[in-house]
């Protein structure tokens, strides 16, 4: 009996080994979509671009229920508070904005008017006064027409300090101060509008700023410009049931479990340049982690056939998908605007040659391989991600993809440097930290890794007085312009005690002056200048080590069609989604 059991166990093990041994990995599964392609695009000048209906998607059909799989609940649904990728992309289904991006999913984007007829009129050509004309025939879910009044009210309510979480560009620009909620108190002035925002007539919305705000057409593409009638404002409770202006309206919201969107019959496709609204219903099914989601849509049984796994294919499962052509055809791969960098605390590591040596030493190849290679991350040598308009690739510290420890040692010039690397304590971050440590120690640095609890990580590293020298940080721009990246990350005049996006704590007067100069330029001319400034920053200050640009690989079921990765936020877009019949 015992002998037989031993044979059985041994046999089973031999089988496992045999199964895994039967294929040799020759490493030829690395080919992939070109994720380094820069974004090309502009602000639409022809008003026809902003007209609906959107061009038909080939092969698309109306009807059916489309499923969206996601692990956790979306932090906010209230359009004025939406700021997560899932929220930003999901809100397109139930909210319309002043402007929006027409996106082919291949990197070609055009900013067009959504509720507005054009993406804004720069009245005096000085970027200080902007006017938007609202389209005719746009309606809320209860059939009331959408006018400039409701859009202005939406912007006004984002001044409410209770409605946290959303972007703050418009509030800060209108109030001309980061403390916008003290400059204009929404709760006391519910019937009036913030300074600089006016509605001369029901179809006109006018912004007047003290300083030139050339990026306004981009900023108003964020969901914070979604309209809301004052009588439907439920304050913080709007998160539980938003009032729809888009092609769908919520019929059921169970936080963390399920959200159901059904057609809004008052939405007129003729007014909408981007949304199609093919399925009858969209269902957000929440709770599965990304491994489970991916396995579910790959198996594709039942409802999962018409589902998309928004969590992305985890690095562990990439080989399974790429090894099978049938599955590979159901994985979409695209670069996101999310750029990761190793921030160097310039107030602690004051020696430029040390910061340059760190740049030479870093091994990007091993870090990106651990994240799924070309399906998870592509090495990056610039502070701006390739998705930025006008992007130019350069490498200020050419050391090959695996780093150049010898060159780093030479740059260090025999100094012995101790560095403390703060890292979030989740598995992926700890593994990246291990690799950064390995690469730096090869170049003669001494590195101590300090784990920081994941949930408090960002709060800690954004403190001005934090005790670490290095940490991994990331930034995803809200629109693909250098203006929403470099000044945010490296302008030293905005440094405060806590909550710094400038985690390198760089404060260089020459650089700050450059920011002011470029920001005042015409948006079309800015693109090239940002890339030049990026190179200057890297060469003269080396405030960080660009690590990689995140790539998402998203799997979907056989019946899920029309899904693409939005070029702006790098998250699946649902505007073309349809259920294959």
């Amino acid at each position: 009996m015992r002998a037989r059991l031993a044979t059985a166990v041994g046999g089973a093990m031999a089988l496992v080994v045999a199964l895994s041994a039967c294929s040799k990995n020759t490493g030829d599964n690395g080919d992939t979509a070109d994720t380094n392609k820069p974004r090309s695009g502009a602000i639409a000048t022809d008003p026809k671009d902003s007209l609906g209906p959107a061009a038909e998607v080939p092969g698309a059909a109306k009807g059916g229920t489309f499923y969206i799989l996601r692990e956790s609940k979306i932090s906010h649904l209230d359009p004025q508070r939406v700021y997560s990728f899932a929220g930003l992309m999901g809100s397109q289904l139930y909210a319309r904005f002043l402007t929006t991006f027409k996106d082919d999913g291949k990197g070609n984007v055009t900013l067009v008017g959504d509720l507005a007829e054009t993406p804004g009129k720069n009245v005096n050509n000085d970027c200080k006064v902007w006017e938007f004309t609202i389209k005719e025939g746009v309606k809320f879910e209860d059939g009331r027409p959408i006018t400039s009044k409701e859009i202005a009210y939406g912007i006004a309510r984002s001044f409410d300090p209770d409605l946290t979480g959303g972007p703050t560009y418009l509030q800060e620009w209108l109030a001309d101060s980061p403390q916008y909620d003290t400059k204009w108190d929404f709760k006391k002035n519910k019937t009036s509008l913030p300074p600089g925002l006016t509605t001369p007539d029901p179809r006109t919305l006018r912004f007047e700023f003290n300083k030139p705000r050339c990026d306004l057409p981009f900023a108003v593409s964020l969901p914070a410009t979604a309209p809301l009638p004052p009588d439907k404002d439920t304050g913080v409770n709007l998160d539980n049931m938003p009032f729809s202006s888009g092609p769908y309206r919520f019929t059921k919201i169970q936080p963390g479990v399920e959200m159901v969107l059904e057609r809004n019959t008052n939405w007129d496709p003729a007014t909408d340049p981007v949304r199609h609204a093919y399925p009858d219903k969209f269902v957000w099914s929440l709770g599965s982690d990304n491994t489970t989601q991916t396995n579910r849509v790959l198996a594709g049984t039942g409802n999962d056939a018409a589902a998309v796994a928004t969590g992305g294919v985890p690095p562990e499962l990439i080989a399974k998908v790429t090894g099978d052509p049938a599955l590979k055809a159901r994985m979409i791969v695209a670069a996101t605007p999310n750029a990761y960098r190793l921030s160097i605390n310039t107030t602690r590591v004051t020696d430029l040659s040390v910061r340059q040596a760190i740049n030479y030493a870093i091994d990007r190849s091993s870090i990106t391989k651990n994240l799924g290679g070309p399906y998870g991350a592509v090495p990056l040598t610039t502070l701006l991600p390739p998705t930025t308009l006008g992007y130019k690739k350069f490498d200020a510290y050419p050391a090959g993809e695996s780093g150049d420890p010898a060159k780093a040692k030479e740059t260090l010039g025999g100094k012995s440097v101790n560095l403390v690397l703060g890292t979030s304590d989740d598995t992926a971050s700890q593994e990246t930290a291990t690799q950064v440590k390995n690469a730096l120690e090869k170049a003669g640095f001494t590195v101590t890794v300090k784990p920081i609890p994941e949930d408090g990580y960002l709060d800690f590293v954004k403190k001005k007085s934090n005790p670490w020298d290095l940490w991994v940080d990331s930034w995803a721009a809200d629109w693909p312009s250098g203006a929403s990246i470099l000044p945010v990350l490296f302008d030293g005049r905005s440094l405060k005690a806590e909550g710094n996006s400038n985690t390198s704590q760089l404060n260089n007067e020459a650089i700050n002056a450059e920011f002011d100069r470029v920001l005042a330029l015409d948006p079309a001319k800015q693109a090239e200048e940002w890339s030049k400034l990026d190179e200057k920053l890297m060469k003269e200050s080396a405030p960080a080590v660009p690590l990689y640009n995140e790539v998402v690989s998203v799997a979907h079921g056989e019946k899920a069609g029309g899904i693409f990765i939005g070029s702006i936020f790098g998250w699946p877009s649902f505007v073309n989604a349809y259920v294959k019949q």
Partner: protein, 334 residues
């Protein structure tokens, strides 16, 4: 001379065995320890599992030596042996003459040398924690069971409280504060400190099961004749507890111990995974197994090698514990 039934049973067994009469004569004069050893020697399972355990412990102790012979260090990365998506090239997860068990997908570190060092860390933590918890559990359980009354009530109450505290939440709250108390925000926390912290945390919670088990056993023993006899002849408390009662409850204690060791191996893995255990760069068996499970579909070899090793380790511990129990107390029913 002790009056415990262990020896009585041992004699009974020897008398009933069908061995040569002259051999029997020589055996009569042996001490209990020698008897146990003789019985273990005769048990093939015990010998095989014992040898396996000895090999594991040898591998753990001799890890730096093995590293020198093998020529690969546990944190060395072999990125060029991985394909573009981080999967090891070649057959069975990159098994080759240089990398006997292949490479970790993603990071590209050598699995064999990390397992050797992982066994070292994990066995140290697991054996340490199991020894401490068993000692605390046995002492408290035996005292509570034998003395009864107020002492029993108080100890049982403490046991209940310790059982009611949620282990993971406590560990998550205490472990980081522990290292912050002793090390500054820029100091490296040495591995031995992290290991000790883990043992302390496990010890604080792990003793309850053994304590309850031992208390129950002692309660059923304390009215037995040999205890009465010892008490009547004026034995002190220490003698009663550790010379009279303890030898009679070794069997369940050993079983509990042999089950505790593997559970601490996985417990350490869970804590490391939650970020309160050991840092990522310290090779740990538990973390390796946890991490490898994600690769079940794409790199089964990565799951196989650590999996089969922990399987062998746990099986060896359980079989050896079982055999030891049989050797100590051959009359008890299986």
């Amino acid at each position: 001379m002790s009056l415990s039934p262990v020896e009585g049973a041992a004699l009974a067994e020897i008398e009933s065995s069908d061995q040569e009469p002259d051999e029997k004569k020589r055996l009569v004069g042996r001490s209990p320890g020698q008897l146990v050893w003789a019985r273990l020697r005769r048990d093939r399972t015990a010998m095989v599992s014992g040898v396996v355990l000895a090999l594991f412990i040898l591998a753990a102790v001799a890890a730096p030596l093995i590293q020198r012979l093998y020529g690969v260090s546990p944190n060395q990365q072999f990125g060029d042996l991985l394909d573009a998506t981080g999967m090891p090239l070649g057959y069975v997860g990159g098994v080759s003459g240089d990398h006997w068990f292949g490479l970790e997908p993603g990071l590209g570190r050598d699995i064999f040398i990390r397992m050797i060092y992982g066994i070292r860390t994990s066995l140290l933590i697991a054996l340490g924690a199991a020894l401490v918890t068993t000692t605390i559990g046995v002492v408290l359980g035996i005292v509570a069971g034998f003395l009864g009354g107020v002492v029993d009530s108080v100890i049982s109450w403490i046991t209940d409280v310790a059982l009611a505290l949620p282990f993971l939440i406590f560990a998550l709250a205490v472990v980081p504060t522990f290292s912050l108390r002793f090390y500054g925000p820029r100091d490296a926390v040495p591995t031995w400190f992290a290991v000790t912290t883990l043992i302390v945390v496990f010890a604080a919670f792990g003793w309850t099961g053994t304590a309850r088990l031992v208390r129950g056993q002692v309660v059923s023993l304390r009215e037995r004749e040999f205890v009465e006899a010892a008490r009547a002849s004026g034995a002190g408390l220490g003698h009663m507890l550790f010379r009279q009662l303890l030898p009679n409850i070794w069997a369940p204690i050993l079983v509990a111990f042999s089950l505790a060791v593997p559970s601490y191996v996985t417990g350490e893995a869970a804590l490391s995974f939650l970020g309160v255990g050991l840092p990522e760069s310290v090779p740990s068996f538990g973390r390796m197994i946890y991490r490898s499970i994600d690769y079940l579909q794409t790199d089964p070899a990565y799951v196989f090698f650590p999996g089969i090793t922990i399987f062998a380790l746990v099986l060896a511990f359980n079989l050896f514990g079982d055999a030891l129990r049989d050797a100590l107390d051959p009359k008890s029913s299986r």
